[in-house]
Subunit: 363 residues, 2 copies
Amino acid sequence: MCAQLVSQTVALGERSYPIHIGSALLQRGDLLLPHIRSKKAVVVSNTTVAPLYLETLSATLRAGGVEVLPVILPDGEQYKTWETLNQIFDALLRQHCERKTPLLALGGGVIGDMGGFAAACYQRGMPFIQIPTTLLAMVDSSVGGKTAINHPLGKNMIGAFYQPRLVLADIDTLNTLPERELRAGIAEIIKYGLIRDAGFIDWLEAHLPALLARDSTALMQAVARSCAHKAEVVAADERESGERALLNLGHTFGHAIETGLGYGSWLHGEAVAAGSVMAARLSQNLGWLSSDEVARVEAIFAAAGLPVRGAKLGAARYLELMRHDKKVADGRLRLVLLKGLGQAVLSEAASEAQICEAIAACC
Amino acid sequence: MCAQLVSQTVALGERSYPIHIGSALLQRGDLLLPHIRSKKAVVVSNTTVAPLYLETLSATLRAGGVEVLPVILPDGEQYKTWETLNQIFDALLRQHCERKTPLLALGGGVIGDMGGFAAACYQRGMPFIQIPTTLLAMVDSSVGGKTAINHPLGKNMIGAFYQPRLVLADIDTLNTLPERELRAGIAEIIKYGLIRDAGFIDWLEAHLPALLARDSTALMQAVARSCAHKAEVVAADERESGERALLNLGHTFGHAIETGLGYGSWLHGEAVAAGSVMAARLSQNLGWLSSDEVARVEAIFAAAGLPVRGAKLGAARYLELMRHDKKVADGRLRLVLLKGLGQAVLSEAASEAQICEAIAACC
């Protein structure tokens, strides 16, 4: 086996788990099977990803003596609902799945979030494995144990912290990722640079063309560096009582866009890009960033082909939606802002008027 | 404050929490308020309990400067569903509840299980307080962090391990408990004697008349001794990988009765009583209990006015329903059986034929 492989660990004591990043990993029974201690396994995927990769994964499992029970869901953020989640529960119960039966999520962030939440809740917890097939899921949602479904009144409102036993990121699956989703994934990669790694911003400015051209070496480097950041943050603050909240740069603004337009209109990464620009602008208004730095933030997202202006919902509607977000404490909006490039802070410093001003300037 | 009070601790490291058992505890702001670090609190209750105790509890909270947001659900096991759970989520979101807003469950096991699961999932976890008002909830479900809802194909199939910050058991609330529910609660108390405390069986045989007459000293002693057992077991095995499973004596048989008849037909404690007799009979068939001991098990449940014969579903139907239960590993039924009174074991020793024989003998 000569495929490239980078392995990392999310250090959470007895709940620690490996992240493997590389080529042709769906074929690697040696990486997968040690985490499956059951004669059968459930694979949750969707109608887009399953035709591409389910058979490869299933063949690897079958070769290890594991029967595969596929659960194929419709594709899209609009299906990240209780109703779809219940389809998983129905299948698990009808097939007599047990507490020890592992559930593998093969797909992007929606499949990982829903599969993980199903695994967290079914019989109060079954083993869970993340096999992300989108760039966004590889660098963000598959690592760290956040699982959830949406509620009509808010995104990711119903969920659990539930760590996987393994994250297997097969870079080859990015070859079939639509262009728009590739760019959306890059938004979360840029985010790591902005919040905690100024050197990564430099690297990204130099390597964006290679990433957009799907150069596998560049992709592996970007995914590995992003996962290393995510793993470090999660190990330090699993339940988001402190540092982990910094990963939400642009997310409170971004969630407002996603909820305001209805799920599925903007991709999550697109909303995060525009939201990060808003956060940068607000940071400038507070005197924390220079106009050159804000321009650099805009430029890097724009170079990745991502939106740098928010949806025109009106600042009042943004505020209303942001108040529904989880990042609220005793009624005061707590936002991730930048005190410099590569240095994020969680802050309640901005008044509602200042927040509205930044939103208006970026729509 | 001269009311009697017994306090215990569930020892789970940084997630340890107190259990307070006593009279007039709903009025005790000194016990409640230290666990509420928010200006508002959600109280989940039902249409039976709320008219009796919500105002007393709310007055205590308001006197401490905490605004109360009540969520009143219909009463009954048949409402322990996703639809009812969603009513809680809707209320939490409409009232802009935050991640730090505490949720208090005021009621029996259904309210505690659903309120706890809602608290576990809302924004991936909000602080949770158990205020049990039934004997069954006081001695069993309110302690230990098991939360769940039912699924049409199985009881408690969807849930979470989620520990409360506090359990407040006000014995006075038992004065309004219907006779049948009092008896059902006693079934779970007897269970502690059968699985791990032979001396408690002697005590119960002597004090059953006092318990049935709602003598408050006897009730406090029974609740405290039961909670001490529960706390000890949970501290040793929070996620039911070993010893905790012994608390399920009679439950696999009992769940079959509950599911087979439709939720709400038999009370949980009634099903556990009949199920425990089946488990005792099966233990006798395996040569582990004498016929005198089985007769003593039957007699104590009968003296508490509990059923000692199961519903006539037919042994095959029992087996089918039991296979849906969570206590199954690689297809083999794993049951809690007795190797003596006060000494439970988790065992796969019984064949399907032996299980059927015990069921048939007890229906």
